[in-house]
């Protein structure tokens, strides 16, 4: 029987940092994808957290939409957008956050190789014992494209570089 949950690829950022984390040549042989991220980037200032930009198949067009539910330790809220050029892929913590802390995210993409638009379930957290900029968020994302996902690109939204020890692992899930 084929293995159900298989690592496709993983990336660990080295000492020089990385402007992006990329998964390419994703095979279409699985049913679903799971992406797990642990990230810190070079965003500085009182915003201790940064968003991660996620794009599929190099698409930087206005083909993404989302609904987000978040909590920030003292506030809660929801926001959404359409016609965006990115899907949020969770959180990285910035340089002013407590040392050695990283944001964590898990992204589930069912039927990523099917012929429908691509939906994603994104759960992201950033907890760094800081006085602010801590978040827990749930996101419903949509990429309005019927192509199979073959690449995933992750970049910081406000910072420019993922820092050393950031990791991302892509898994394929087989339903048979």
């Amino acid at each position: 029987m084929a293995t159900t949950f298989t690592k496709i690829a993983d990336v660990t950022v080295g000492s020089g940092g990385a402007a992006s984390i990329d998964f390419t040549s994703i095979p279409s042989t699985y049913t679903d994808l799971v992406l797990k991220i642990s990230a810190r980037d070079n965003r500085s200032g009182s915003n201790y957290t940064d968003d991660i930009r996620m794009r599929f198949n190099g698409d930087s067009g206005s083909n993404y939409s989302n609904k987000v539910l978040y909590g920030g330790g003292g506030s809660t809220g929801s926001f959404g957008g359409s016609g965006m050029d990115l899907m949020y892929g969770g959180y990285a913590v910035g340089t002013d956050a407590t040392a050695s802390t990283f944001g964590n995210s898990e992204i589930y993409i069912p039927n990523y190789a099917g012929s429908a638009y691509k939906s994603a379930s994104v759960d992201g957290v950033a907890e760094s014992n800081s006085s602010g900029g801590v978040y827990l968020a749930l996101e419903a994302g949509l990429w309005s494209n019927t192509a199979a996902i073959t690449t995933i690109a992750l970049t910081p939204v406000n910072g420019s570089t993922f820092l050393e020890y950031s990791t991302a692992t892509l898994y394929g899930v087989n339903n048979a």
Partner: protein, 166 residues
């Protein structure tokens, strides 16, 4: 070596269906994960589930929702089925929706069954915690529209996975 994460069953609706049931679920795993990628033929509709065919008032839930404008929370108690999607989000008929359910220790016969649900659609995102007040091992999971009057549309997929701790 035994597989940790195994598909137990998968179903693709060949036509509109009022419900789907995973039955004869083996008790040999530690946890269950159910993944659904579906649409309904009515707007603003939600899926519910029943375990082991129990129609008694043995279910409750608490949910957290974001519809893109506001966050909200709600709950239900002594329900006759467990709510798992779309309590405070709105979507048109035939909107694609995805939901994952995590049943931990589903075959434990000493505890009530708590399961966690994540739901997403263009109408919003939600998280549920559901409780089934029964110490029975879960051996069937029925996914259905609230009162069965609406249909799960053709092409909707449901997959049940088992996870082994050892």
């Amino acid at each position: 070596m035994a597989s940790t994460y195994e598909p137990i069953a998968t179903y693709t609706a060949p036509s509109a269906q009022s419900s789907y049931t995973f039955s004869s679920i083996p008790s040999t795993f530690t946890d269950l994960v159910l993944v659904a990628d579906y649409s309904l033929n009515v707007s603003n509709a939600s899926l519910w589930c029943r375990l082991n065919g129990d129609t008694g008032s043995n279910y409750s839930f608490t949910r957290l929702s974001g519809n893109g404008s506001s966050a909200s929370s709600g709950r239900g108690s002594s329900e006759t089925q467990a709510r798992i999607t779309a309590d405070a989000t709105a979507q048109a008929s035939s909107t694609r929706q995805i939901v994952t359910l995590h049943f931990q220790n589903y075959s434990n016969t000493s505890t009530y069954k708590t399961f966690l649900t994540r739901y997403n659609s263009t109408g919003g995102t939600e998280a549920f915690v559901d409780l089934w007040r029964s110490t029975s091992a879960i051996n069937s999971i029925q996914i259905k529209y609230f009162d069965g009057t609406a249909a799960i549309e053709t092409g909707s997929t449901f997959t049940l996975y088992g996870i082994k701790a050892a």
